[in-house]
Every structure is written in C-alpha cells, then in structure tokens.
C-alpha cells in the first residue's frame, strides 16, 4: 500500500498553498505534519484525502491517480478527520459513529452485525460508549472530537488522515488519543496527522514532515529532524533540544 504525491501544487482560488511537493508516505508508520500556521500542512492533508483537487501534479494511491479511483472504494482505504466539523442537528452519537460504515453499506445505509461490532469496538476505544444515546449537539467540544474520531475509525481504513485531532481536548484526553493512535498503528494502520505540539509529535510519531511556505523543509525520524537550527529556521524559535527523560525522544524547550 502506498500514498504519494508527485509535483503536487494545491490551494484555494488559484492561489497555490502547497507548491510542487514530491512526497512518499512511509507505510505502517505514524507520521506528523508540522509547520507554522499557513505553511500548507492541512492543505496537503486535504489533497491526500482527495477533498481538494490538485492544480498541478497528482496524488497517487497504489500508483493510481486518486481522482480516478471509485469514491466508495477509496473510502474503504483512506479516512479523514477534518479540522472543524459542523454540529449536526438531531443526530445521536451512535448514529454518527454508524455513518462511518457508509462505504460498506447499501443504498439505504442499513448496518449489519459486523458493522455493529465494529461500531461498538471503536466507541469503546475512544471512550464514548456511555454517550451512545446522547445527541451530538449536546456534547462538549472534547467529547464531540472523540465522537468524530470514532466515526473516522469506524470507516476501518488502512490509512488514517487526521487534521489536528487533539483540538478541543483536555490534556488527559490528548494523551489517551496519542496512545490510541499508537495502538492502531501496531494493528497495522498508517496514520498521518497534522499536529501543533512539536513535543507530542516527537514523542508519539515515527516520522516527522516539516513544512514551510508550501514546501517540505525536511523529513525523517524525530531524532534526526528536530534540531535547534530547524526550530529557528521554520518556527523562528530560540529553543534547545533535550532528551525526554521518560521516552528518550527529543524534546524542545523554548529559551
């Protein structure tokens, strides 16, 4: 399985945000997209999830142009958790999670026994089993984020694309989420996530992709990528790199 971009330029209203990017997503890893606001990391993620069409270049899934693959078939391979979601009216948590099974159901959306099992499992993994009968519109921001994550997981795809999944979550849920991503990764999923917190990325991700002004500046394992020079160059931050005393991963401390 492979996901790659080839000379990809993509953006909004004729203005390219991501510029001529060539990228091979390493399969089976947790990959973080990092960079300052407006660097194009979300735009790149959306292009890989075929939400945005390329202005130039292509995104390939298994060597095939993403936009030539049947949309339902592709929905069984790639799932996206968008950065912001509308608040649907009159929808219960269990119904929203069940919508994640859509790529597998028939025209009326009827869910079978296997679907029910997957729905129950992802609700347990994301800790929302107790919320099943509640309306999505009545939840807190953090709870809602977990419900949407559960829906994305219910899609049961080998690739997961997450756009700032920790937004709105309190710290303990953020940690829980990162542990869940690790667990899913061990089950074989490739996870590509936009993150703001560099230390979170360094601690939980295998591969960092750092972007600035629509280009990829560097990529690789956290150890090799995170340097004092890079933080200065990309984030304009004066910071030191230390070793996380628990995980032994690099950790940035702002001066």
């Amino acid at each position: 399985m492979s996901l790659s971009t080839h000379n990809l330029s993509v953006g909004y209203h004729d203005k390219a945000i991501v510029k001529q990017v060539d990228l091979n997503i390493p399969a089976g890893k947790i990959i973080a997209l990092l960079g300052p606001n407006g660097c194009g990391k979300s735009t790149l993620l959306k292009a890989m999830a075929r939400i945005l069409s390329p202005m130039d270049g292509q995104v390939h899934w298994q060597g095939q142009n993403l936009h030539n693959i049947a949309s339902k078939k592709l929905a069984q391979q790639l799932a996206l958790l968008p950065q912001t979601q509308p608040i649907p009216e009159g929808i219960k948590v269990k119904d929203l999670v069940a919508y994640g099974r859509s790529p597998y159901t028939g025209f009326w959306g009827r869910i079978n026994k296997e679907d029910h099992e997957i729905i129950a499992q992802v609700m347990q993994e994301t800790g929302i089993t107790e919320l099943a009968e509640q309306l999505v519109s009545e939840l807190s921001g953090g709870q809602r984020q977990r419900v949407w994550l559960a829906m994305t997981l219910a899609q049961d795809t080998p690739y997961l694309l997450l756009d700032e999944p920790t937004t709105y979550m309190d710290l303990s849920h953020q940690v829980e989420l990162m542990h869940l991503l690790r667990k899913l990764n061990l089950q074989g999923k490739t996870i590509i996530t936009v993150l703001h917190d560099i230390n979170q990325a360094a601690r939980y991700c295998d591969h960092l992709i750092v972007m600035k002004q629509g280009k990829i500046i560097t990529q690789g394992a956290p150890d090799s990528v995170l340097t004092q020079q890079l933080l200065k160059e990309v984030f304009s931050l004066d910071a030191q790199i230390h070793q996380d005393p628990i995980a032994q991963t690099p950790m940035c401390v702002v001066e």
Binding site: K46, A49, R50, I51, S71, K72, K73, L74, A75, Q76, L78, A79, L80, P82, T84, Q85, P86, P88, E89, G90, I91, K92, D95, L96, Y99, G100, S102, P103, T105, F107, W108, G109, W148, M151, T152, Q155, L161
Partner: protein
C-alpha cells in the same frame, strides 16, 4: 423515539383525510362518506367531485412541498432554506402568471412545465448571486429579496393585463379551491420524483457532516447537491403549478419533523412528507370551515403559522 412517531403521524393524517371529507359548507356524517362515493347518492357530487380530489391533492401537495424543503435544507445545511424562502416558489409563480396573462387561451396542462422553467431560472439566479459557499443569512436574505421582486413582477403583470387577471388571481392565492380530478391527474406523473428523493437519504445524512467528511466517506458532494436541488425544484414547480405558491410549508414541515424524529434522513424524509400532508390538510380544513360558505385560501393559513416561525428561526440564527 424516532420510528415510534411514524404510526402516530400516519393516524393523524388518516384522521384529517376523513375530517376533510366530512366537514365543509355541509357536514356529512362519517357513515355516509363511503355511500357518497357511489353514483346516485345524495352526497355523490360533494364527496366525489369536490371533496375527495381536493383532499387527495392537499395530501400530495403538502407531502411534496415538505419533501422539497427537506431536500433543500439537507444539502444547504441551513435551517432557513426552503424553496419558498429562496424564491423558487415565486419564480414558478411568476412564470405561470406570465403564461396565463399573455396566453389566456393556451392549454392549462402546460402549466407545470412553465412553472418548472420559472423555478429553475429562480434557482439559477440565486446560485449566480450567492455562489455555492455563501452564509446562511446571505442566502436567506437574497432569497427573500428575490421572492419579493418576483411578487412585484406578478403585481405588475396583473396591472398591465387587467382583463386576464381573473384566472391568475384565483390561482395565485395559494389555494386548493376549485381543484379537482383534472389537476390531480396533472400532478400524478410528478409523484415519480418521490422515490428518487428517498434514494438520496443515505448521502444526505453524510453531507450533513460537512463536505470534507462526506467526500472522505465516498460521497460526491457536488453531484448530490445538484441532484437534490434539482428534485426540489421539480417537486416545488409541480405543486406551485397546481395550487399556487403555498407559503412556508417547505420551511416549517421539515423543521418540525427534525424536532420530532431527529436528523436521519431515512426517517426524516418519509416523516416530513406525512407532516407536510397533515399541515396542508389541516390548513385547508380550517380555511374551508372557519366561516362557510366563504373560503379562505389555504396559503393564508400556512402563512399565519409559517411567517412567525420563519422570523423566530431568523432571530435564533447566529
């Protein structure tokens, strides 16, 4: 809660169907309604020629207008959106009045097609003015302004062609008065749109989650929007061609239904048709029985409920 309200809605609708056959300028006891269907019976004319087709029409038009509203609200993700608020109904109305005033002797059976052209033009006009990504309020206000413009064009047409206005006036009030088997047969082919609309239930659920999630779940968002709005325009035009622009039904019915059965379109779409049918049957029943033998247009009754509801929604929208 959701599916359990369906039998109640069905019962309410059946009750209103019977009430619409029983009451009017003359009350006919329940037991004599079935007899009235037979030729030669004293109530045959009232029941068979007058009340029965009108009652069936009220049921179908109410259901179709409500369904059109649910389709529009579904893809625009906007509680203020409905064919009448967006000016689509009045666009159909303007085209129909134009046709009736300039071709007074033309075949009336062309009216649905003419209304369809009018509502399509109105929909395109709104699309052209607002684009595909405009805000809730902008869309609603542009729609209301366009509807007012079409309404004044209708007035203008009637002023310059005073001799032909009788037909148009009769039709314009949004009423079921004088509608019978002919109009019912004109509406029948358009019922074929209903299964296509129900077929969209699953993708409509997903577009509700935002375009990004919908596309990620395998939905072609733009195609769905086009299909859904196209069906809504067709449903609206066929209803307006027959009953005139009956206001606010397409706005209120789906909204009430969402409160009643939730947002899953597999239940919402059938339930909203029942609620629409109930509302128009009720409106017509009240309009006919409030001061017999004088009749108010059903469109006035729906506006009395609908206009405050619309204002309440508008004030509530941030």
């Amino acid at each position: 809660m959701a599916t359990r309200s369906l039998p109640f809605l069905v019962l309410a609708m059946i009750g209103l169907l019977i009430a619409n056959l029983m009451f009017g300028a003359v009350s006919i006891p329940f037991k004599q309604i079935l007899d009235g269907l037979q030729t030669g019976n004293e109530h045959h004319f009232t029941i068979h020629e007058y009340r029965l087709p009108r009652t069936i029409l009220a049921m179908l038009v109410g259901a179709m207008m409500a369904l059109a509203g649910a389709l529009v609200q579904g893809v625009i993700r906007n509680p203020l959106a409905s064919p009448d608020v967006l000016g689509v109904s009045h666009g159909a109305g303007l085209a129909a009045v134009f046709y009736m005033t300039f071709f007074p002797n033309a075949d009336i059976s062309w009216l649905p097609a003419v209304a369809l052209v009018g509502s399509l033009v109105a929909a395109l006009m709104l699309w052209w003015l607002c684009g595909s990504h405009s805000s809730t309020i902008k869309l609603a206000i542009t729609g209301v302004a366009l509807a007012a413009l079409y309404a004044s064009c209708i007035d203008f047409l009637m002023l310059i062609k005073p001799l032909e206005i009788n037909n148009a006036l009769l039709w314009l009030t949004g009423s079921l008065w004088g509608r019978g088997w002919n109009q019912l047969s004109m509406l029948l082919p358009w019922l074929l749109l209903i299964p296509f609309a129900l077929w969209l239930a699953k993708p409509l659920n997903l577009i509700h989650l935002g375009d990004d999630s919908a596309i990620s779940l395998g939905i072609k968002a733009n195609k769905l929007r086009l299909a859904s709005l196209g069906l809504a325009v067709g449903l609206t035009a066929s209803c307006v061609a027959i009953c005139g622009p009956i206001g606010f039904l397409g706005l209120v019915a789906p909204h009430l239904t969402r409160k009643l059965v939730g947002g899953r379109h597999q239940i919402l779409l059938p339930a909203t048709m029942l609620v629409g049918a109930i509302l128009l049957l009720l409106a017509d029943l009240v309009a006919r029985t409030i001061d017999p033998p004088i009749e108010l247009p059903a469109g006035i009754m729906t506006a009395i409920i609908g206009a405050p509801y619309f204002l309440w929604l508008l004030l509530r929208t941030k």
